[in-house]
């Protein structure tokens, strides 16, 4: 059976996603995020290794400064939920695939994994620089009509289309 056969109709999935986001706004007054939790975990990890360096860093101070616990944050709990939701979704669609690597026929698993890390580094950097990613900026900010979020979103698509021809072998 095709792994995508349990995918919802994209417009229905979009409305469902929009309702989750709407509920988040009604309950919390702010929206959803995707990258903040990864940043917090990374900072916490780095703080274990080199506490002085991390505390002295002016950017990391917002996570660990003044005795703050980087895990004590809404985004951490939300991201834990996202992972759980991912598990539930994949389970309900019969597609939990431990160790699976999604790639096209013209590349190797190893190259694909290397690019996953590399792309991740670029995204991690970009998400901190832009103060959010596709979830926290584009989706969340876009739906409250924030100007910067729409500009960000347009340029995510621009960047994707610019880079796509160069990594075509990976996917197609």
């Amino acid at each position: 059976m095709n792994v995508g056969s349990k995918d919802w109709n994209p417009y229905v999935a979009g409305v469902a996603l929009g309702l989750v986001l709407l509920a988040t706004y009604l309950l919390m007054g702010f929206g959803l995020g995707g990258s903040a939790a990864a940043t917090r975990v990374a900072v916490a990890g780095a703080h274990l290794v080199a506490p002085e360096t991390i505390e002295a860093n002016r950017y990391f101070a917002q996570y660990v400064g003044n005795g703050l616990n980087p895990f004590d944050d809404w985004m951490i709990f939300e991201a834990a939920g996202v992972i759980l939701g991912g598990i539930l979704g994949a389970y309900s669609a019969g597609r939990i695939r431990p160790g699976h690597v999604d790639h096209g026929p013209r590349t190797t698993k190893l190259k694909r994994l290397a690019l996953a890390v590399l792309g991740g580094v670029v995204m991690g950097f970009a998400a901190r620089y832009a103060r959010g990613c596709t979830s926290g900026q584009a989706l969340t900010g876009g739906s409250v009509l924030a100007v910067g979020s729409w500009i960000f979103m347009i340029f995510v698509f621009v960047g994707g289309y610019l880079a796509a021809p160069f990594v075509r072998r990976q996917w197609r």
């Binding site: 005795g67 759980l84 939701g85 580094v121 900026q137 009509l145 960000f152 995510v156």
Partner: protein, 391 residues
């Protein structure tokens, strides 16, 4: 009245519990949208499956319309919603880089979490990369700070910029999105044919129902404009509430940016030294008429040199709460800018107060106060949940 957390209906722990529930909803929906698979996501950029565009924009349109309707009937106070600030260059450069990273990694950060949940190794490694990239940014923060802070346009949204009511904009966005969806479906067929692949075969009936529903809901939003609720209250005599220097310091460090802080002293004095983030008066506007024109999406904090500053009349025309800093800048200087002395009688409360003050002192001046005498382990000052946009 919502948002419930902002209006104090529940506290921090309940917020964390809801974070998990809402996260589950977010993750489950993303997974069932097909966003746990890299190939499905990046197909967006090869043109023959524009699922990313369809899901994302129907989600945005749903939320925007929903907020417009609920705001119109008074269920949600739209002015309390957190609007991410706009930094033009970071949005353009960061957006482009994120798009590049997305097509290279195969996931964006949120969908990498979902892929990791499905067990996908590439999703897990993308997350590892994101962590590395975040650290890289932090370590390069000193040379990058100028680029990070440049072109700050403030917390602006299209309602203010275009001067168009929310429900009207929501309808506009819905119409644009639906036009975009038809164009996307056309493009899918075109690119699928060119690449010898298959365009998605989603039911046009379901699609049409969704589109009909969105337009119907937008129309409901427009009708709320006719309700009398939306009328602004007439200008009332100025009512202000006091705020202590320490409470103001807390609000500033929490980084919520939900305050306008205005320094009422002369522009020269203000420019030399002011509360971090405060605006100075300008010589062209001696009566501070600009206060009346500030978008009332945040509260306003005013302060003069000391206690009892004369408040400008325009503050009474500001549409949100007005606070006056207790004791003015003098109190700020003595409470926050002056190094606190360690308590002579270190009771837990005194130590906690001292640590709080030194944390604030350190934050605002960058210099450390000596550690408190050890007596009882005080709990760290709890921050309110960080607001959205943090992503």
């Amino acid at each position: 009245m919502t948002p419930l957390y902002q209006t104090g209906a529940f506290g921090y722990s309940m917020g964390m519990f809801l974070a998990v529930l809402l996260g589950i909803g977010f993750g489950f929906t993303l997974e069932r949208a097909g966003f746990g698979r890299a190939k499905t996501l990046v197909a967006q950029f090869y043109g023959d499956d524009m699922r990313v565009f369809k899901v994302m924009f129907s989600a945005i349109v749903t939320t925007t319309i929903g907020l417009g309707v609920l705001g119109g009937v008074g269920v949600v106070d739209l002015s309390l919603l957190v609007t991410p600030g706009t930094w033009l260059v970071p949005a353009i450069v960061g957006g482009t880089l994120l798009g590049i990273g997305f097509v290279v990694a195969g996931y964006c950060p949120g969908t990498a979490l979902v892929a990791a949940g499905s067990g996908h190794l590439d999703g897990i490694l993308a997350l590892v990369g994101i962590m590395g990239g975040s650290l890289l940014f932090g370590f390069l923060y000193d040379p990058l700070e100028g680029l990070y802070e440049m072109t700050s346009w403030g917390k602006i949204n299209f309602v203010d910029v275009l001067g168009v009511a929310w429900p009207v904009l929501a309808l506009g966005v819905a119409v644009m999105a639906i036009g975009g969806f038809f164009a996307a479906e056309w493009a899918e067929r075109y690119f699928a044919k060119r690449q010898g692949s298959e365009a998605p075969q989603d039911s046009p009936m379901v699609r049409n129902r969704v589109f009909g529903g969105l337009i119907g809901a937008s129309a409901l939003g427009l009708m709320t404009l006719a309700l009398p609720l939306a009328q602004a209250a007439p200008s009332a005599p100025l009512e202000t509430a006091p705020i202590t220097a320490l409470a103001l310091a807390d609000a500033v460090t929490a980084g919520h940016g939900d305050l306008y802080i205005v320094d009422l002293r002369s522009p020269e004095v203000c420019k030399a030294e002011r509360v971090r983030g405060a605006m100075c008066l300008s010589a062209e506007d001696p009566k501070a008429e600009f206060l009346a024109t500030l978008t009332p999406t945040r509260a306003l904090v005013l302060y003069g040199a000391g206690p009892g500053a004369k408040l400008p009349e325009s503050a009474s025309r500001f549409g949100n709460e007005v606070f006056v800093l207790d004791g003015g800048f003098a109190a700020w200087r003595s409470t926050v800018l002056t190094r606190p002395a360690p308590p002579t009688n270190p009771t837990p409360a005194a130590v906690q107060d001292y640590e709080h003050r030194s944390a604030m002192h350190q934050y605002f001046t960058g210099s450390k106060a000596p550690p408190a005498p050890i007596m009882a382990r005080p709990t760290a000052v709890r921050q309110a949940a960080k607001k959205g946009g943090g992503c």
